[in-house]
C-alpha cells in the first residue's frame, strides 16, 4: 500500500486556483523530491498535507496510509505520523524547546496508547538526538526558534522530526538559508532517519540537497501540476537549464 496517494488534487487560495489536478504516489521508505519555480504550488501542497486552514480543496482526494487525510485535524495527522518541517518555522517566545518536545512527544504516545516517557528517560532520548545534530547544550532550554538564525531554525525542525520519528516527513525547503557546512549536517540528519519504512517528500530549489540525500524520484511541479518525473539526473538538468523549457 502507498503511504501517500494524492489524486487529482485541486486547491485554491482565496479563490485563486494553485494546484490543478496534482497526482503523487509515495511508497513506504521512498524519498521523493519536488522541484519547481516560485509560485508553482510546492508549499501549498505541503500545507494542505499538514492541514493548514485557508486552503480550499475544490476537487480530488488524499489518502494517507489508506485513510482519508483531508477530514483529519492537523494534530491527528501529526499523531498519525505525518510531519511538516516548516519553510518558515514560527518563533514562540516563552516556550522552551524541551517543553514543546515533551508535550508533542507525549501527545504522540497517548495517541498510540503507549505510556508517557518519564523525565529522565526523555532527557536521555533528547540528548542522543541533540548530540547527533551537534546542537549546543543550552539548545533545549532556549525558547522555540526565538532569536534563532535561519540555519538554527532548520536544524530545530530536524530535531523535532528526530524526536517525533514520523512515518511521512515533508521537508519544505529545509535547505534554504543554510551554508555548506550546515547543509551537510542537516543532510546527515535526514539520512540518519531514512529507513525502509519512513517516506519523505523533499521540497527544494537546489540539487545540492538532493546530491546529499539522493531521492528515489524527482517531480517537477509547474502551474499546479506535476509536469515531469525522473531521477536525480533531472535535478541536475534543471540546475543547468532552468524551468523555461518545460512550460
Amino acid at each position: 500500500m502507498n503511504i501517500l496517494e494524492v489524486r487529482n488534487l485541486h486547491v485554491s487560495v482565496m479563490n485563486k486556483p494553485i494546484l490543478r489536478g496534482l497526482e503523487l504516489h509515495l511508497k513506504p521508505g521512498e524519498v521523493h523530491a519536488i522541484m519547481g519555480p516560485n509560485g508553482s504550488g510546492k508549499s501549498t501542497l505541503a500545507n494542505v498535507l499538514a492541514g493548514r486552514g485557508d486552503y480550499q480543496v475544490t476537487a480530488g482526494e488524499i489518502l494517507y496510509q489508506g485513510q482519508e487525510l483531508l477530514s483529519m485535524a492537523p494534530e491527528d495527522r501529526a499523531r498519525a505520523g505525518l510531519f511538516l518541517a516548516f519553510q518558515n518555522p514560527v518563533e514562540i517566545p516563552g516556550v522552551s524547546n524541551v517543553r514543546l518536545l515533551k508535550e508533542a512527544f507525549n501527545a504522540h504516545q497517548r495517541y498510540r496508547r503507549l505510556p508517557e516517557m518519564d523525565a529522565m528517560a526523555f532527557r536521555a532520548y533528547l540528548n542522543e538526538r541533540t548530540k547527533s545534530l551537534e546542537l549546543s547544550e543550552d539548545w533545549l532550554l532556549r525558547p522555540v526558534n526565538a532569536g534563532f538564525s535561519g540555519g538554527e531554525k532548520k536544524r530545530n525542525e530536524l530535531l523535532q522530526m528526530m524526536v517525533l520519528e514520523p512515518h511521512l516527513a515533508i521537508l519544505d525547503e529545509i535547505d534554504s538559508g543554510l551554508d555548506i557546512d550546515a547543509l551537510a549536517k542537516v543532510a546527515a540528519g535526514i539520512n540518519a532517519l531514512r529507513d525502509t519504512k519512513r517516506s519523505m517528500l523533499l521540497i527544494t530549489h537546489y540539487p545540492r540537497l538532493l546530491e546529499q540525500v539522493p531521492p528515489d524520484k524527482v517531480h517537477v511541479l509547474i502551474g499546479g501540476q506535476i509536469v515531469l518525473c525522473g531521477g536525480l539526473d533531472l535535478a541536475g538538468q534543471l540546475e543547468e537549464r532552468g524551468y523555461g523549457w518545460l512550460f
Binding site: G53, A73, R77, R79, F83, G94, L100, A107, P143
Partner: protein
C-alpha cells in the same frame, strides 16, 4: 453611596476604642483625620481621571461589615494550599484581616529582625510604629487609602535593622473565610528595610472557597540606603471578592526594589503601586501579570517618581484577558525638572483571548528635564494563528496549544520571580488561573 459611607463612619464611632492603637494619641488622631478625609471625598467615582475605567458602585453597594475576632478556628492543614512552603519560608498569617498566631511561623528569625502583628505592636509598643502610620498622600482619589487608615484592624510590621538579611522569604498570607454577612478586611502593612538590609517579602491574598469579601489593603515599604527588597504580591481571592490595594514604596540611595505582581482572583480588583526613587542610584523594577476571565475586572495603576538623579526603573505589565473580562493598566513615570541621568522603561503587553474581552492600557511619561533615557510602549494582540497551527502540526490539540502559548506569554514575568521555590509555586497558581478563565 452615602449610606455605605455612613455605615463605615458609624462603625468607626462605635468601635473606636477597640481599634488598635486607641491609647496612642498620634494613632487616634491619624485615624480621625483619615475618617474625615474619607467622609469628604467618599469612594472614588468614574469622574476622576484615575478611576474612569473602574466603577466601584458594586463594591459599596454590597454592605460589607468590618471583621471581628472570634471567627477563625482554622487549623494548619486548611492553609497548606496557600503556602509556598512549610519550612523554607517564615510566615505571618491573617484570617479575615486579623493576625493568627497558631497559623504563623517565625522561628529562627535573625536577631534584631522585628516581624509582628501591627495591632499588637501598636498597643504594646506604639513608638516603634507611630513614625510610619501618620503619613498620607493627599488627593481626591484616595478614598480607599483613607478608609484603610481610619479603620485598619491589623497587618504586618516588619523591621530589618541595618545590615540584616532574611535568608528565607517572609510570607504574609491574608486569608478570608466564608461568612454570613460579607466582610471587609483592612490590613495595614509596614516593611522597613534598614541600610544594607536584604529581604524577600511575599504578600498574598486568598479566600477559602467562594467567600464574598472585600479586602482594602495598604502596604508601605521603606528602603534605606543599599537595601535590597524583593516584593511578590499575589492576588488570588475568590471570583466574587473585591480587592483594592495600595503599595507605596520610598527608596533611599543605592537601594533596589524588585516588585512582582500576579493577579488571578477577584471579581473587581484595583491595585496601585507608587514608588519614589528618593536617593541617587536607586533602582526599581515593577513587573506584573494579570489573568482575567468571565466577568472579572482588573485595574492596575503604577506611578514611578524619579526624584533623584541617576535613578533607574523598569516596568513590565502583561495581561491575559478572556470571556468578558476587562483590564486596565495605567503607568506613569515622572521625572521632575533638574533630575538628570534617569533611565526608565515601561512596557505593557496584552493578550485578548476572546472578542468580548477588553483592555485599556496607557503608559505615560511626564518628563520635565533633559539628559534622561525614557521609553515606553504598549501592545494588544490575540494568539498568533501561525503559532497555533505550528503547535497543532506537532500533535498538540487546540486547547493544549492555546495553553502553551498563554504560558509562553506569561513566562517572561514568571522568570523574574526568585528564588526557584517561589517561581515554581507561583507557576502552579497560574495554571489554575488559566484554567479558570
Amino acid at each position: 453611596m452615602n449610606t455605605a459611607m455612613n455605615a463605615y463612619q458609624d462603625h468607626f464611632v462605635e468601635h473606636a476604642m477597640q481599634l488598635p492603637g486607641f491609647d496612642s494619641v498620634s494613632v487616634r488622631v491619624s485615624r480621625q483625620e483619615a475618617m474625615q478625609r474619607f467622609m469628604q471625598s467618599g469612594f472614588p467615582t468614574q469622574r476622576l481621571e484615575n478611576w474612569k475605567h473602574t466603577s466601584v458602585t458594586a463594591l459599596w453597594k454590597r454592605a460589607y461589615k468590618p471583621s471581628e475576632p472570634g471567627c477563625m478556628g482554622l487549623d494548619p492543614d486548611d492553609i497548606t494550599p496557600y503556602l509556598a512552603d512549610r519550612r523554607g519560608v517564615y510566615r505571618l498569617v491573617f484570617v479575615n484581616g486579623l493576625f493568627s498566631r497558631p497559623l504563623s511561623d517565625l522561628h529562627d528569625l535573625p536577631v534584631g529582625v522585628r516581624v509582628a502583628s501591627m495591632a499588637q505592636l501598636v498597643n504594646d509598643s506604639p513608638c516603634e510604629v507611630e513614625p510610619y502610620l501618620g503619613n498620607h498622600t493627599p488627593g481626591n482619589d484616595q478614598g480607599f487609602s483613607d478608609l484603610n487608615h481610619a479603620l485598619w484592624g491589623d497587618g504586618a510590621f516588619v523591621h530589618l535593622p541595618s545590615g540584616t538579611r532574611l535568608e528565607k522569604p517572609l510570607h504574609l498570607l491574608y486569608l478570608s473565610t466564608i461568612s454570613r454577612e460579607p466582610m471587609v478586611a483592612m490590613p495595614r502593612n509596614v516593611v522597613v528595610a534598614g541600610t544594607d538590609a536584604h529581604a524577600q517579602i511575599v504578600e498574598s491574598y486568598a479566600s477559602l472557597g467562594q467567600a464574598r469579601h472585600f479586602t482594602n489593603a495598604h502596604t508601605t515599604l521603606v528602603l534605606g540606603e543599599k537595601a535590597r527588597v524583593r516584593h511578590l504580591l499575589l492576588l488570588q481571592e475568590s471570583l466574587v471578592a473585591h480587592h483594592v490595594g495600595t503599595m507605596r514604596a520610598t527608596q533611599m540611595g543605592d537601594s533596589c526594589l524588585d516588585s512582582q505582581l500576579f493577579s488571578m482572583g477577584g471579581e473587581l480588583t484595583r491595585q496601585e503601586l507608587h514608588v519614589t526613587l528618593a536617593g541617587e542610584r536607586a533602582e526599581c523594577s515593577l513587573d506584573g501579570l494579570f489573568i482575567a476571565g468571565g466577568g472579572q475586572h482588573m485595574d492596575f495603576h503604577t506611578s514611578m517618581h524619579h526624584t533623584s538623579p541617576d535613578t533607574w526603573s523598569r516596568q513590565l505589565y502583561k495581561g491575559v484577558l478572556d470571556g468578558n473580562a476587562r483590564g486596565v493598566f495605567n503607568g506613569v513615570v515622572r521625572v521632575p525638572p533638574g533630575i538628570h541621568h534617569t533611565r526608565s522603561n515601561q512596557t505593557s503587553a496584552n493578550l485578548l483571548l476572546s472578542d468580548t474581552a477588553e483592555i485599556d492600557t496607557k503608559p505615560q511619561l511626564e518628563i520635565n528635564t533633559d539628559a534622561v533615557q525614557c521609553s515606553h510602549g504598549a501592545t494588544v494582540g490575540s494568539l498568533d494563528p501561525e503559532a497555533l497551527f505550528y503547535l497543532q502540526s506537532r500533535g498538540l490539540n487546540v486547547t493544549s496549544a492555546r495553553l502553551l502559548l498563554i504560558k509562553g506569554f506569561a513566562e517572561e514575568v514568571l522568570q523574574r520571580v526568585k528564588p526557584t521555590l517561589l517561581q515554581a509555586w507561583v507557576g502552579q497558581s497560574l495554571n489554575l488561573g488559566v484554567k479558570q478563565s
